[in-house]
């Protein structure tokens, strides 16, 4: 069955899938924890403008996408922290601006048309070039260094931002770092699952894992395992059956989510029953009205 490893293009595809399977859930878990599961989508749309700029300026679309989506992610984070726009509205603006900008710019590029964008929109893991692999390896390394090395600090910031500020953590810096890390992940993953499905690989493994876990570290470990499983198995499937790898990966992840949810349901019920006798916890007054 391993004859697929004889082809260099499949070696590269599998390596890219493996790296993204690890990196995407590792950063996605913080976004899910902060209830910003859609942030990856927003960054993905902005990255499209970067890809198109890469074509227009005849530079590498991947690195241009890293630069532009980092700027977009930082802008999103600043808007959120200043409270100038509601998080969902800031996101919506980025979605539309990024998409329209990408389509406009690619049509300005000499000989460019939206067809150039297709492989980035839907992914095309089997056409990953050796120079792509260098970029993907480097960026995944950066993402993992941040997401694992600073996991306690990022956990504290995403779990209770006000408390984290009072402990003296550099909360603003950590938030911006997380935004840039998310942008790097999106651009890494766009070659594999495509910009429109990037966020799925950041979110679904985490949500699937947390159906069965009680702690953060456990959720992180399990979601990375799920991420690797689905991205590698999706890539292999697309080698044997003529199906698009990005969509295959996402559908396998969704299937796994449903399976884990179904298996974990009785477990959650039992836990809820056990917690019920001590549950007359009185709802605290609406935090919005605290004086």
């Amino acid at each position: 069955m391993l004859e697929l490893l004889d082809y260099p293009f499949m070696q590269r595809a599998l390596l890219a899938a493996l790296l993204i399977g690890v990196a995407a859930p590792a950063v996605g878990i913080y976004l899910v924890q902060r209830r910003q599961a859609l942030m990856g989508d927003g960054i993905g749309h902005v990255a499209l403008t970067g890809v198109a700029l890469g074509f227009l300026l005849d530079t590498s679309p991947v690195w241009m996408a890293v630069a532009v989506s980092s700027l977009g992610a930082v802008a999103m984070e600043l808007l959120r922290s200043w409270g100038r726009a509601r998080g969902d509205i800031a996101l919506a603006m980025l979605f539309y601006g990024g998409m329209a900008g990408g389509v406009m710019i690619i049509n300005l590029a000499p000989g460019g048309s939206t067809a150039n964008l297709t492989s980035y929109l839907w992914g095309s893991v089997t056409t990953v070039s050796p120079s792509d692999i260098t970029a993907i390896t480097f960026l995944s390394g950066f993402v993992l260094l941040i997401c694992l090395g600073l996991r306690r600090q990022l956990f504290a910031v995403c779990q209770d931002e006000e408390f984290a500020r009072v402990t003296g953590l550099p909360v603003r810096t950590l938030n911006l770092l997380l935004a840039v890390t998310a942008a790097a992940t999106v651009t890494v993953a766009m070659r594999v699952v495509g910009l429109l499905l990037v966020s799925a690989l950041m979110v679904i493994p985490v949500v699937a894992a947390q159906q069965a876990t009680r702690g953060f570290a456990m959720t992180l470990a399990l979601s990375v395992a799920i991420g690797v499983l689905v991205s590698v198995s999706g890539t292999v499937t697309s080698y044997y059956v003529d199906v698009p790898p990005g969509a295959t990966i996402v559908l396998i992840a969704l299937g796994l989510f449903l399976l884990i949810s179904a298996l974990a349901l009785p477990l959650a019920r039992r836990r809820a029953r056990r917690a019920a006798p001590v549950a007359p916890a009185v709802a605290k007054a609406d935090p919005a009205v605290r004086s």
Partner: protein
């Protein structure tokens, strides 16, 4: 010894609306001071100003002698925010949440053996050592409050600042809270806390400061020594009764 927390004519606004209109308050080493008052009187804003989360628009607020804006030694401050009922997006164990408090001492460095020992100690103090591996989402309100207190204690602070630690807390947890505070005060830790009523903490409180409409209405020294002052220093108003009754099930009233 230097005053731990000092507010002199402090004013603050929330969204352009004046909430603190000149508060004077001092917490000295080893003291326990309670802030009382109706909803909207400014008690929560006052403690959030003390921990630097609400900007002070006038007057002087100092922590351990430094103006709050220039204060950097946050490891000396243990903050227990108001408990939110919203469950986090990703589950976290009791130990993981409590460990976050240790970052006050470690900042960007990883946690080591001494940190784990401090987390164990804090969990033991609030009586949750046997639940360290459980998800905080599975805890009752009182247990959750104890987690937040352990998180603040694990940084080994010199002052504990708590926002409504009794709200939605069952009787057992109230007792654990009182014992924890007594132990901390015994070690010379100072305490500033926002309360709706003194309840089981009454004997521990050195001074009760009653706020009304952003000003200090009155100060009662040693409220625990005078039987019956609990109601006297917290005169129920119509608005207070309305908002307080459904949230307070302490069994004391």
């Amino acid at each position: 010894m230097e005053t731990v927390i000092s507010l002199a004519k402090v004013t603050a606004e929330l969204g352009g609306r004046p909430v603190l209109r000149g508060i004077d308050l001092a917490v000295r080493p080893g003291e326990a001071v309670a802030l009382l008052g109706a909803n909207g009187s400014g008690k929560s804003t006052a403690v959030r100003a003390v921990v630097g989360q609400v900007p002070v628009t006038g007057g002087e607020l100092t922590l351990f002698g430094s103006p709050v804006r220039r204060f950097r030694d946050w490891a000396r401050v243990g903050y227990v925010p108001q408990r939110s009922t919203a469950a986090a997006g990703v589950p976290a164990t009791v130990r993981e949440v409590v460990s976050a408090g240790r970052l006050a001492r470690r900042r960007l460095r990883p946690l080591g053996r001494a940190d784990r020992a401090a987390v164990d100690r804090a969990l033991g103090l609030v009586g949750l050592a046997d639940r360290a591996a459980e998800s905080v989402n599975d805890l009752s309100g009182g247990q959750h409050q104890r987690v937040l207190i352990a998180r603040a204690l694990t940084g080994e602070p010199d002052v504990l600042i708590m926002d409504e630690p009794l709200a939605g807390v069952d009787l057992d947890s109230q007792q654990v809270l009182a014992d924890t505070l007594r132990e901390a005060l015994g070690r010379g830790v100072s305490v500033l806390l926002v309360l709706h009523e003194l309840g089981p903490l009454q004997p521990l409180i050195d001074r009760a400061v009653v706020l009304a409409d952003g000003r200090v209405e009155r100060t009662v020294e040693r409220p625990g020594r005078l039987p019956g002052t609990q109601t006297a220093c917290h005169p129920p108003t119509a608005a207070d009764e309305l908002s307080a009754t459904p949230t307070l099930r302490t069994g004391i009233l």
